[in-house]
């Protein structure tokens, strides 16, 4: 026998999963006794994410107004088909004209955000209400978490990270290319250049601050002292990791804003503010 002496606890009776007290627990009928507005945060999350999804879906399928020399919208970057507007990335193949080039690449940025440890928290809470807020009962009868398909798939997050890092390089490459003017001459900079650059930086910070990245750079080690460089890297990534949530949101707004700016230029609504 171990540790605790018998306490006459009786058998464990399955819980009801509807927020009501399981037998032998204190009989408290309320789903929660919290007195604060706990529902505000999940509500805001839902509203913001739905707006982003609606906008990005519209833009991804629009298949137009994503290029305004020398800027390409991050939703369409890298643009890998021959049907792409402008000259941007090496063009690999020609797809049917009705498929937007954004579709080919969408899965990767979507994947890293979907499997991201922060976004998981955000959408499990706000969309799936599991739980809606701490100490507020969830409405589900059963719960198996990430133990089975499809959610066990969240464990491949690190592969999306690898892909995202490749994308980060491409976004920097595109931002770098926007130092050319309409004629392809170097030595140009407009507000769009800054926006693409900022977007690339933010998305990079989002990737590098990710929990999987923290693990890979050093978290998996048990003896930091034997790996001083990786320890240094881990310490830095850990610092960024503490702000992963902020990066997640700011980069989300950033990418939408960068796209919107290109959209405005491409539709001729505004003209780029040109510095030199």
């Amino acid at each position: 026998m171990t540790a605790t002496a018998p306490r006459g606890t009786g058998g464990v009776i399955p819980g009801r999963g509807d927020g009501g007290p399981a037998p032998r627990r204190a009989a408290i009928p309320e789903r929660t006794l919290r007195t604060d507005r706990w529902w505000v945060q999940p509500l805001v999350t839902v509203v913001v994410l739905v707006l982003f999804i609606a906008y990005s879906t519209f833009r991804a399928f629009q298949n137009a107004h994503y290029y305004a020399t020398p800027y390409i919208s991050p939703f369409y970057s890298p643009c890998i088909t021959t049907r792409c507007e402008g000259d941007s990335f090496p063009e690999f193949f020609t797809g049917p004209s009705w498929i937007s080039p954004a579709i080919y690449i969408l899965v990767l940025p979507l994947g890293i955000r979907l499997t991201c440890y922060y976004y998981r928290k955000a959408y499990y809470r706000s969309f799936w209400l599991s739980p809606p807020a701490c100490a507020v009962a969830e409405p589900h009868r059963r719960y198996t978490g990430e133990t089975r398909l499809p959610l066990v798939g969240q464990n491949i997050h690190r592969y999306f990270l690898y892909a995202a890092l490749v994308f980060n390089v491409i976004l920097f490459y595109e931002a770098f290319r926007s130092f050319r003017d309409e004629t392809g001459e170097w030595g140009h900079m407009g507000l769009g250049t800054l926006i693409l650059l900022a977007n690339a930086v933010l998305l990079f910070m989002y990737s590098i601050s990710c929990h999987s990245c923290r693990h890979i750079v050093g978290g998996r080690l048990n003896h930091f002292s034997a790996h001083p460089l990786r320890y240094k890297a881990w310490t830095w990534v850990s610092k960024q990791n503490a702000r992963h949530m902020q990066y997640a949101w700011i980069s989300l707004f950033g990418v939408a804003f960068a796209d919107f700016y290109v959209f405005l230029l491409a539709t001729g609504t505004i003209t780029d503010l040109r510095f030199f």
Binding site: T2, T4, G17, R25, A26, H215, G219
Partner: protein, 251 residues
Amino acid sequence: MSYDATFRVWRGDADGGGLQTFTVAVNEGEVVLDVIHRLQSTQAGDLAVRWNCKAGKCGSCSAEINGRPRLLCMTRMSTFGEAETVTVTPLRTFPVIRDLVTDVSFNYEQAARIPAFTPKPREADGNHRMQQVDVERSQEFRKCIECWLCQDTCHVLRDHEENKAAFSGPRFLIRLAELDMHPLDTVDRRDAAQDDFGLGYCNITKCCSEVCPEGIHLTDNGIIPLKERVVDRRFDPLTWLGSKIGRRPKG
């Protein structure tokens, strides 16, 4: 500086009970536990509450205050308005014994299941040598005062009694993380974490981190790194392939 506060305290046992309302004096600087003690000594001599150090170090006086899992001794009355009704209930996740005292033996059963620490041998001079940077991660988890608030708030256990058979709760996931990161330990607990302690049940919604009175970053520093370590072993196709064709040593 004194005022009369309205308290609603859950009283009862496994057979039933409910919130009972008291009017009780509150003085400057007091915490909720002081007020509960005043109720005990003046109005309800048999009001059951578990407590020890009254300084946030032992983790005995866990309960729920206005619906939030908290230590009674670390919740200052000044955080409530004088007109605000303060509701104190027992931990919901565990069977109630009486009033604010719950049967937390589930946690002790889980603790007994953890594969024990198994150190490598000492060095020739009889010492273990470890660098501060190597012990710091596990030290964070060893700050745990075992108040069981994380266990209480975790929806996997709180809302699903049946999960107690498969999921041991955040406290024991960080205990596994502590041992897995321990520079002296020689046991690989990754399979056990996934299969025996239900790591996969955690959907990292972070209520355990929010509630921890010691400020331990259970999710970011313990559970997620443990999940990543399990990925290394179980879900990383490259590692898996490597172990199949024998390039990497197993374990």
